[in-house]
Symmetry: C2
C-alpha cells in the first residue's frame, strides 16, 4: 500500500494518490488506460535486434513513422506530423506554440484532468462551456468562443465517454475557421467509438492531437503526435521541442511504427471487448439507480452520486475500489469510472458499489 | 541533401539546418553527440523479450532506475530523482517549476544553444556573465547573481569544452546557498573530464541535471533526470510532468537501467578514445594558427576564426565540412566543432580546414 494514502484520502487533491496502488483485492476503476495488450508486432520489433540507431533522430519524428501516419490521414503529408512524448506533449507544445500570456482557450466541461493545468501553466486562461448530458450547447459555445484564441475539443470525451453530434462538430469546424480561431481536436479516443464512425475535424486551422496509447494499449511507451496543415504551427512546435525534449525516443517510435503494421482487426477486436464492457457497466450502474449517461466512446462513465468525496473515500477504504472524483474533471457531483477490466471484475466492482450505496 | 539548405546557409539561423545532412563525403563536426556505441547491455535487454509492461509507469520514473541512480550519488535517495525525456526536459521542467514571469536566471557565456530559448519560452529572463578562456569570473558572477532567482552552471561546458575551477565551484555553491538562490547544475558531461575528477555541486539548493545521452551514447533514446534534495522542487516537477508528458518511455528507462549495469570500464575506455581525439583536434587547430583553448572535458572545441558566418558557409559548400556557428552559443567570433569522429576523419577534416584557411 502506498505511503500516506490515508492522509491523501482526506484531501483528495488529484488522481496521483492512486497511481501504483494495487493488490489487496483492490478493483481499480481509476487510471485511464487500456488493460488490453498491444499488438504483438510491437514487441516483435524489439527482439528482432535491428534497432541500433542510438544517435539523435529527426526532431519532427522519424520519416518512417510520419509516412505511415500520413497514410492513416487521407490527403495528409508526412511533413504535417510531429511525433511527441504522448498526446500530453503534443498538447503542451501546441499551447506553447500558439498562445501568448493571457490568451483564452475554450474548453467544454467536464474536461480531461490535465487541460486546466496545462492551459494555466502556459499562462493562458481557460474559458468553459457547460455541456448537457455531455453534449456541447452550440449557442453558448458560439458566444464564448468570440473572446478566445483557440478551442479544445475532445470527442469522444474523457471523462464522460460521450461524443459530440456530427452536426455540432461541423458547425464548430466552420465557425472557428470563419472567425480565425485555432481548433485543437484531441482525438485520442477516435478508434473507440461504439455508435458511429469518427468525424474527423479538419481544415487549415485544425491541430489534431492523437496517440498510440489508447488505440494500441501503449500508454507506458509514450508516443503521440500532432497533425496540422498549418506549416507555421508545425514548425514552431518542432522549434520548441528542439529545446524542451528533442526527438521522441527512437525505440518507442519504432514500436509505434510496428503497431501501425498490425492487422486492422486488432482495433475492431478490441472495440468488441470494450462495447461488451460498456454495456455491462452502463446497465449495472442504471440498475443501481444511479443517474448516468450512456458512454458512446472511450472507456469512461461518469455517474452522479451523493457526496462524491465520501463515496470515493469509502469505496476505497471499505470496499477496495478505486474511483476518481468528478471534481478533478470539472464535474463536482459525479465520480469517474473506467471499465478497463475483465467482465468478472466489473461485475464484482458493481456488487461492491451496491454494498456501498446500501450502507451510505 | 536536405531541401533548401542553400537558402538556410544564407540565414544561418540555427543548427537545425544541418540535422540529418550527411553523405556526399561530408565530414560533420556538427551535432553534439557521441558516435561511440552504447554498452551492449542496452540492446541485450530488448532482445530478452521480457519488457511487457505497457501501462503507465510511475510519473517520477521507475523505482528500479531511480534506485540504481541513487547508488551513483552517495547519500542520495531514490525519492530525489525524476526521470525525464533527456536532460532537455529535466531543465525545462526545472525552469517551469521554479520560475515566475520575469524571474532572472544567470548563465555563463558561451552557453549551450538551448539555454536562452528555454529560459525565454518560460517567460524568464537570461542574465549573462562573460567568461575568460571559458572560466567564470567570480566577481562578475557574484555581482550579477544578486538580482537572479537561479543560476545555471554547465561544467564541463558545451560549447567551450572547458571546466570551472574547483575553487570557483565551491564559492558558487556557498554564495548561492547563503543568498538563497537555486543552483541548477547541468552535469551531462561529468563523466567526460580529461583533467581531474568531476566536482559534484551539492547542497539543499542544488538541482542536478544529467542524462544517459553523453556518457552512454544514448542520445536518440532520450533518458535524462534531475536530482534535488529540495522535496518541493521534486514534487513540483512531477506534478508538471503529469500534464506535460507523463512517465518517460518505459522501454527507454529499461535501456537506461541496463546501461548502469554495464562494467564501469565502458566509461573509462570511452574517455581514452575521447582524450586521443581531443589531443589531435586541439593540436591540429593550433597548428593551423587558430586561437583556441584546450578542451578539458566534453567533446567540443571553440576556435576563434575570421568571418565566422563565411567560414561555416564555405567550410560546408566548398569543403564538405559541417561546423556550428559560435553565435548560436553566444560566441559570435568563433565556430564550434565536435570531435565525435574517428582519428582519420578528424585528420581529414583538419586538412580541409587548412585548405579553407589558405583560400580565405
Amino acid at each position: 500500500m502506498k505511503k500516506n494514502i490515508e492522509e491523501k484520502l482526506k484531501e483528495l487533491k488529484d488522481p496521483s494518490m492512486f497511481i501504483g496502488v494495487q493488490g489487496d483485492g483492490i478493483i481499480s476503476f481509476g487510471s485511464g488506460q487500456p488493460d488490453l495488450e498491444p499488438p504483438k508486432e510491437v514487441y516483435d520489433i524489439l527482439s528482432a535486434g535491428s534497432l541500433k540507431e542510438h544517435r539523435y533522430g529527426l526532431l519532427q519524428g522519424t520519416e518512417k513513422l510520419r509516412n505511415a501516419l500520413s497514410k492513416e490521414y487521407p490527403g495528409s503529408d508526412a511533413e504535417n506530423f510531429v511525433i511527441t512524448n504522448g498526446a500530453s506533449e503534443a498538447l503542451d507544445l501546441t499551447l506553447r506554440a500558439i498562445g501568448k500570456i493571457g490568451d483564452k482557450i475554450l474548453v467544454h466541461k467536464p474536461y480531461y484532468y490535465s487541460y486546466k493545468p496545462l492551459i494555466e501553466m502556459n499562462y493562458l486562461v481557460p474559458v468553459f462551456t457547460e455541456t448537457k448530458e455531455g453534449k456541447i450547447n452550440f449557442d453558448d459555445f458560439a458566444e464564448k468562443v468570440k473572446s478566445c484564441k483557440a478551442v479544445l475539443i475532445n470527442s469522444p470525451c474523457n471523462p464522460t465517454g460521450r461524443i459530440q453530434e456530427i452536426d455540432t462538430l461541423k458547425k464548430i469546424e466552420k465557425l472557428t475557421k470563419d472567425s480565425n480561431k485555432i481548433l485543437i481536436s484531441d482525438e485520442v479516443y477516435k478508434d473507440l467509438i461504439y455508435e458511429r464512425e469518427n468525424y474527423f475535424l479538419s481544415g487549415p486551422h485544425v491541430v489534431t492531437i492523437n496517440s498510440f496509447s489508447k488505440t494500441y494499449g501503449m500508454c507506458g511507451f509514450r508516443v503521440g503526435y500532432l497533425y496540422s496543415n498549418d506549416k507555421k504551427i508545425v514548425d514552431k512546435t518542432i522549434e520548441l521541442k528542439t529545446h524542451t525534449s528533442m526527438n521522441t525516443s527512437l525505440i518507442a517510435q519504432e514500436m509505434a511504427y510496428a503497431a501501425l503494421q498490425a492487422p486492422k482487426s486488432y482495433i475492431a477486436d478490441g472495440l468488441k471487448i470494450w462495447k461488451e464492457r460498456r454495456d455491462i457497466t452502463y446497465q449495472g450502474l442504471l440498475d443501481l439507480g444511479l443517474e448516468v449517461k450512456k458512454p458512446e466512446g472511450a472507456f469512461y462513465v461518469l455517474p452522479k452520486i451523493k457526496e462524491p468525496r465520501k463515496a470515493v473515500r469509502e469505496l476505497f477504504t471499505k470496499h477496495r475500489i478505486i474511483t476518481y472524483l468528478g471534481e478533478w474533471f470539472g464535474a463536482p457531483d459525479r465520480i469517474r469510472l473506467i471499465y478497463a477490466l475483465d467482465k468478472e471484475k466489473i461485475e464484482e466492482g458493481l456488487e461492491r458499489i451496491k454494498k456501498y450505496l446500501k450502507s451510505a
